[in-house]
Symmetry: C3
Subunit: 132 residues, 3 copies
């Protein structure tokens, strides 16, 4: 398992980690299979989405903030970041991406993002190559 | 990696691909492990849900359309399909299904669906067999 | 594939299965790789979230009940559990966790939960070890 470190810029952000992952892949030497990308956090997840138009990420985070509001009269967790936990649960802690010829096989518009919901922080991504 | 082509019938649809996947599995020759089913799109995902009563899929798509409305005063992406991106992020781009005896080991009521949110289109699913 | 049985206590519950999974891992003998944890149900999923403060799980289930309300004038499925299907689709049917030194490599605050949305029932989790 390889551990990557990712600095996030603000409380909420989608940080494009695609290049980082491809660089790590070359070190791992996986030619064909699937890359397991895991966030060991409970207030930051991972997601695959469009990277071309940054407005897509903005619209996604805008709506997500409404689906899991920061303040809610029913929240009982005292750290004030229940919204971040909920968003992480909705996105999930891992993505799995096909690997072909030693590189991520992403669709034309796809990029991999670390989804920060309670930053800014230094986060980790844990990578495991899975063989066919 | 095997690439399947799937024609979707309308803007939003859950297309049952279970039989397609089992057919592809026989070609791949994976006896025991996990099948990785990947959507290389940003406005179509994959989901495992009930296949017996079609009303389940309808209720799911009904509520999802409310969770990610087609029109929103805050959306900035100009293609008018931000809802489709959001829905895809909520469902995710991949499912992983156990394989036993060369076939998908699904629960009694489970079927695998390609989740189209911006069709009709011809979509792809990319399959990778993962070994134990 | 190993099948675990999990008894859930109420209609909705997050049942911590982390210890069960680590015990099963020792039997499987996977030293390094990824554990695939699969729910074969359509009204119960799996999720990785904080285990330290139980209020996090409560806030998560509270908001999820609003995102997928139990009653909705548009629901057509007659069993009255459309909310459970929707919640399961949002969480997903599988989690994948890195394995290092024969144990789950979870983040400091992470635990694995079976997410029951239509209990109480006896549920199953199907485990497959995936190798690097």
């Amino acid at each position: 398992m390889i551990r990557l470190s990712v600095r996030t810029p603000s409380r909420e952000a989608l940080v494009n980690v695609t290049r980082l992952l491809n660089e790590a892949l070359s070190e791992m030497g996986l030619a064909e299979g699937v890359l397991h990308v895991y966030s060991p956090h409970t207030t930051a997840g991972v997601v695959i989405q469009e990277g071309a138009d940054p407005a897509v990420a903005e619209d996604l985070m805008l709506r997500l903030a409404e689906l899991a509001p920061r303040n809610h009269p029913g929240y009982r967790h005292l750290e004030g970041n229940s919204d971040a936990h909920i968003k992480t649960a909705l996105f999930g802690n891992a993505v799995t991406v096909p690997v072909v010829g030693g590189r991520l096989a992403l669709g034309t518009w796809q990029q991999v993002f670390l989804a920060e919901f309670d930053g800014p922080r230094t986060r980790e991504l844990w990578l495991t190559p899975l063989v066919r």
